[in-house]
């Protein structure tokens, strides 16, 4: 019996595509009972400048082309600000400033002094955390609940953690006399804009490098606010440079001959292009790329906990998460009760204004991303999988996609193979642990995975066999600066976080 046949028999003809079907009516109907009064986060104390220049050599510099691009709120489609577009000349200036900052100041400081600068940054981030969270939510569309309670605490924690390594590098790699590389060129994505900036800058600076950071074009604002914080912290000029722009700007950072190290987080496609561009050069490279994580639920799992883990695994940050648990693998015996619980829980998710404190699922980051999600969801329907989307009202302006899951998915379907990077879950089943592992590993990606079982020995056994850089057992989407993160296979190489996260920024004997 194939997996698809299994599902057909398990669901007994029940269809999940239309919320008005009889089977659906039998499920919990929340309707108006779940309508909350608006609870908007006050944003009137937040000031966004009408225009931002480039942050190069400790100064705000106009782009040589004179060009600026708009950054809009994906929930309102309104322009928030305009941001400088850096071209090759601007990037060259930034790399020169970083080199100067490295040679003149940063490489001459003792570890403890470098650490104290980074502690300052961490402290000011804590002080301004709410403001940064609000701007993150306005610029990127993620719920304020997440930017306030997840992104910002992790951002501050990351700077705190790596600040503490600055004077301890000799102990991190004993007997290997670690030395900084020089100038790091760093290109980051739009899904966790400030958190990715922290993941890149904090270890690089602690290890003694200087940085040129290129934030994503749809979410540049918090990186620019971070530049202001760095300015307030009196960092030596050129130690951190922030150049905004789109793909061409990132390409210029990566290709600059005086960049010693490149760190990229983003899609596997672009990652491969960067790896190619760097081939034959002496530049060091780390890549944190896409994922198609399997979230494996055994029949002996605590199902209610598993449902929470599945929900946060795929709907957290609208599914714009490279380690999202986008493939749910359920042991046959648990399929029916689990899917019922999952569909019920999905209907309690509140989709809408990201600045509302009750919102669970915010806006899709951009029109482009929304189009990509729609395309793949249509492919899923066309290829014969059964779609269930929560019957929620979506705002008329902005970019939105209702939480969605597919059953009757086979491994060859595009929705089971390709990274959707949206709130779309592909559900499959398995009968034995071996089959679960085989299906979980049947992907070009290998960033993360989840295992749900009440049997401890099984969770270790499965974890050891999953080809993924992070495995969550009876939990999902947990991050900590002390815990290394990164992928196997085409999800990239190198680790961010922990002692291991220093290594990409150091030369060791």
């Amino acid at each position: 019996m194939t997996a698809k046949e299994t599902i057909a028999s398990a669901t007994n003809g029940e269809t999940h595509a239309a919320p008005s079907s009889p089977a659906q009516r039998a499920a919990l109907e929340f309707g108006k009972a779940w309508t909350y009064a608006p609870a908007p986060e006050a944003a009137d104390h937040v000031r966004i400048d009408p225009r931002y220049e480039l942050f190069i050599g400790g100064k705000w510099v106009a782009p040589s082309s004179g060009k600026y691009f708009d950054t809009v709120s994906p929930s309102t489609e309104q322009k928030l600000s305009e941001v400088a577009e850096a071209n090759e000349r601007d990037v060259d200036l930034a790399v020169k400033a970083a080199r100067n900052g490295y040679e003149k100041y940063w490489s001459k400081l003792s570890g403890i002094e470098r650490g104290k600068y980074i502690y300052r940054i961490a402290r000011v981030i804590q002080e301004k955390a709410r403001e940064l969270a609000i701007v993150e939510t306005m610029d990127g569309g993620k719920p304020i609940k997440e930017s306030r309670d997840v992104d910002l605490p992790l951002v501050a924690a990351h700077f705190f953690y790596y600040a503490g390594w600055a004077d301890k590098l000799a102990y991190a790699f004993p007997g290997r006399s670690p030395r900084p590389l020089g100038v790091a060129g760093q290109v980051i994505p739009w899904n966790f804009p400030l958190l990715m900036a922290a993941w890149k800058l904090a270890p690089a600076l602690a290890a003694g490098n200087t940085c040129v950071l290129k934030p994503a074009e749809t979410t540049p604002l918090t990186a620019l606010l971070l530049a202001k914080i760095i300015e307030e912290c009196d960092l030596p000029p050129g130690v951190v440079n922030i150049v905004t722009g789109a793909g061409a700007t990132g390409a210029a950072v990566v290709a600059h001959p005086d960049v010693d190290k490149v760190a990229f987080t983003g899609s596997t496609d672009v990652g491969k292009r960067i790896q190619k561009a760097l081939s034959g050069t002496k530049k060091k490279l780390t890549l944190e790329l896409g994922g198609k994580a399997a979230n494996i639920v055994f029949a002996d799992a605590p199902l209610d906990q598993a449902v929470e883990g599945i929900i946060s695994g795929i709907y957290f940050n609208q599914g714009h998460v490279c380690c999202a648990g986008s493939r749910l693998l359920v042991e046959e015996g648990a399929f029916e009760p689990l899917l019922q619980k999952l569909r019920d829980r999905m209907q309690t998710l509140r989709v809408g204004d990201p600045l509302d404190k009750n919102t669970d699922v915010g806006a899709i980051n951009s029109k482009m991303q929304l189009d990509k999600i729609r395309e793949l969801v249509e492919a899923g329907e066309r290829e014969g999988a059964e779609r269930f989307s929560t019957p929620c009202e979506l705002p008329t302006r902005g970019y939105w996609f209702a939480p969605t899951l597919f059953t009757g998915v086979s491994q060859s379907h595009r929705i089971a193979r390709e990274e959707i990077f949206g709130p779309v879950l592909a559900v499959m089943t398995f009968r034995t642990p071996e089959e679960a592992i085989e299906k979980a590993n049947n992907t070009m990606y290998g960033l993360s995975a989840g295992v749900w079982t009440d049997k401890g020995s099984k969770s270790f056994w499965v974890s050891q066999r999953l080809r993924a850089g992070v495995v969550w057992a009876n939990t999902y989407n947990k991050f900590d600066p002390s815990s290394p993160f990164g992928g196997y296979k085409e999800s990239g190489f190198g680790r961010e976080g922990g002692r291991q996260g220093l290594l990409p920024y150091l030369e060791v004997d």
Binding site: G115, Y161, A163, G164
Partner: protein
């Protein structure tokens, strides 16, 4: 205890008037401080009522100030609160302990002048006092960073020959009794206590007998940091009298002895057998405390952790 030779008052402003028997009423009378020990987050005098006189070289002709002379009962009270504080302190996340230690550095920085002045009053040249204070604050910053890192260095995944996950992790010991070095009075005390509390232990410190006052000024900074009461307890008095009481106390898990005479160390080691205390002695000279590379080594933390090995089966 008071330094044998009081510093003269040459550096102090001239306050004598030869015409009037040497007395001139000051324009404003300064308010003197009653120095108190820090026990369980509270400022206390010794229950014994005893005091030790310490020179105040800034004052008119050799005035002395009084610091508490702790008793056996004070030691036992401190053990009770340190033991109570251990549960909470060791139960906090490593990150939180690091945050609290960093906050302590912020509080010390704000009191930098006061601490340096106290060291001067305790007999140091101004420039040495300033250096010691600055190094001491940076030492706190350094250990704030260790709070969530030493675990990664001390722990191991053990590749046992069988289907098991087997790992070894460090845990705290409990209450540690510390005899701080005579000099450096501030940096030595912090340098001794920081690795102990960073690892989740709580400490009872017998302060330098050469400059006990600075330890009590430090106590005022500790009390205004986010450090929970009882994590660091500062006693002033005579180590020769108090150490044996710490050494034989059943609720004290370990001792950290600096600059203790061989006879006193032997006495403590003998008493320590009562509950198989871990007794560490650290003999480094005064200058070595200033060497950041040496004095912030994780091996100072490693002396105050227990290692726990956990076996977990792995199988479908």
């Amino acid at each position: 205890m008071a330094r044998a030779k009081d510093k003269d008052t040459a550096g102090a402003p001239a306050r004598t008037d030869e015409r009037e028997n040497g007395f001139v009423p000051p324009a404003r009378l300064s308010v003197r401080k009653a120095y108190k020990m820090l026990v369980g987050g509270q400022f206390v005098r010794s229950e014994s009522g005893r005091y030790i006189q310490v020179a105040d070289p800034m004052s008119l002709g050799g005035t002395k100030e009084n610091v508490p002379w702790a008793s056996r009962k004070d030691v036992r009270d401190a053990v009770v609160v340190a033991r109570g504080a251990w549960e909470g302190w060791s139960g906090r996340t490593a990150y939180n302990r690091g945050q609290i230690l960093y906050r302590l550095a912020e509080m010390l920085e704000a009191r930098q002048g006061e601490l340096a002045r106290s060291l001067e009053r305790g007999g140091l040249e101004a420039s040495r006092a300033a250096t010691e204070t600055a190094v001491a604050i940076d030492r706190v910053v350094s250990y704030a960073g260790w709070a969530d890192k030493y675990q990664s260095l001390f722990s191991s995944l053990n590749p046992v020959a069988g289907p098991h996950f087997n790992f070894t992790v460090p845990e705290s010991m409990g209450v540690v009794g510390v005899v701080a070095p005579a000099r450096p009075a501030l940096l030595g005390l912090l340098g001794a206590v920081l690795p102990i509390i960073t690892a989740g232990n709580t400490a009872i410190v017998l302060a330098s007998e050469e400059d006990p006052r600075t330890a009590l000024v430090l106590g005022e900074a500790l009390a205004t940091s986010d450090l929970p009461g009882g994590v660091i307890n500062v006693l002033t008095g005579r180590a020769a009298e108090l150490l044996p009481h710490l050494a034989k106390h059943m609720e004290v898990a370990a001792l950290d002895l600096h600059g203790v005479t061989p006879e006193l160390a032997r006495k403590a080691e003998e008493a320590a057998i009562v509950n198989v205390k871990r007794v560490r002695t650290r003999s480094i000279d005064e200058a070595a405390w200033f060497d950041a590379d040496g004095a912030t080594s994780p091996r100072w933390i490693e002396r105050f952790v227990e290692m726990k090995t956990i076996w977990h089966p792995s199988g479908a």
